[in-house]
Symmetry: C2
Subunit: 315 residues, 2 copies
Amino acid sequence: MARVAIVGSGFIGRAWAISYARAGHDVVLWDTVDDAPGKAIDYIAGVLADLSTHGLLHGSTPEQVRSRLFTAETLEEALDGVDHVQENTPEDVEVKRKVFQRLDAAAPGNAVLASSSSAILPSKFTEELNGRARCLVVHPINPPYLVPAAEVVPAPWTDQAVVDRTREFLVCAGHAPIVMNKELDGFVMNRMQGALLEEAFRLVADGYASIEDVDIGIREGLALRWSFMGPFETIDLNAPGGVRDYVARYQGIYERIFPSQRRRVDWSGEVMEQIEGERRKNLPAGKLVERQVWRDRRLMALAAHKRRADDDLGK
Amino acid sequence: MARVAIVGSGFIGRAWAISYARAGHDVVLWDTVDDAPGKAIDYIAGVLADLSTHGLLHGSTPEQVRSRLFTAETLEEALDGVDHVQENTPEDVEVKRKVFQRLDAAAPGNAVLASSSSAILPSKFTEELNGRARCLVVHPINPPYLVPAAEVVPAPWTDQAVVDRTREFLVCAGHAPIVMNKELDGFVMNRMQGALLEEAFRLVADGYASIEDVDIGIREGLALRWSFMGPFETIDLNAPGGVRDYVARYQGIYERIFPSQRRRVDWSGEVMEQIEGERRKNLPAGKLVERQVWRDRRLMALAAHKRRADDDLGK
């Protein structure tokens, strides 16, 4: 088992800590705010009980996972003897640049330095480092202990062996790594989410559908198959002759639609009045936190369901 | 309970027949091919057993649902006394135009005439009809007895009362209707699927990711939350202050990506070699049918899971 440092113990950092400790690793949390790591561990203890109930602790007990979590008072102490560093500081390129300088200076020479950045390319904050070949982005969807996908994004100078090792490390922790061949703004997931959201905002702004209609089209429609197959396997099974046959039959429809998808509406413009109005009618602002708890419970139940269905019916 | 005519008893027609008969309606199947309705009913009998196992027959037994299915030898016989007609003939505007002339001439004056068309606007084949106010599209995602979403698309002359009645009819049958305010090429679901697929094909064609990586990003990532919340609720819960806060924080990322999403790649071009190669390596062409059976079983298990989770944790 490896030793992992969590650098920045907020929202994302504490979630990674659960994922890595569940996988059997010793995990050391550090933060610039002194009591953040301790608070993170208190929060984690509550989550572990829920995960255990859903059979999502990979065979460990909550106490076993808890016993693998440690706090450090200094960054140097946190980095002592680690194999993998997961950095989760604010999304600001200057902050990342400074943190990575400190990480590269203090972490053992063979440790991988991974940033959780969702929107900054790894080349933007690692170029000047001596150890830039061991730096890359590992971007989760929150919370990573419930959502297996994680994007592995190399800078142009990232060592292929570091990419391979990180992929293995994630797979062993129960993750489903997406390994990009080269960096690109938005990576893979935000690019696809963005493409879909652009169309969703356009449909509402142009008066064709309500936001509830859009959500129904995904949650009671498209995302059912996507949730266990993905979009390419979905279309591969949607024509008798597979994906080539699907494209031969249906590309014309999408080609005809596309010109009207090249215009973007300002999400914060007039359409936001309608969207926020409809959302707050369905869910008052005071209930957002409660609903987030509900979302995580639904995600746990779904993860447990997928595990059972994989076993019973096959992947 | 109502009486429903299924006009065209192939792939889509037989699936609608299950959905409507399960809801308690008497369903009459007709087709230009004489033995198609009988064959459809034989096929349906097999599906009903599977649905029953998963508790997806809304409290009926397979025999009860089967007893609500009838075949007709002529279109006129099929239309006798019906309340709702679901048309499922080939996607050809001339075919639809002729069929709708016959439907409008022979169906009772108060019957709704709904087409399952996925890609033809209702205005294209109903304009000249005396009863054009009772015509509209009701487009399913296949198979409708496992995927609740269905698009209700009015022509400019469709009576609002017909739209409202159709919505009610679908809701009572356990569907989740998306009611468009006006017709638009691609409706709601294919527009969103298309937007996402365009990005998926671009990512692969430009060499950033494999098709398996794209599928992982959806099936192990984005589609987990989408499968029970939809994209608007997802972003509403992804920032402390709700959807407006999310847009204030993150619209910049999507705005920056968007210019590179205005170009489309030819899906049937060079990229198809790679996509088909990767898919056929994962799933040989001879196993497509077997995998479709697997898909439908997974959809049944997912539908059963969602029903349980709705009850246990709330919608």
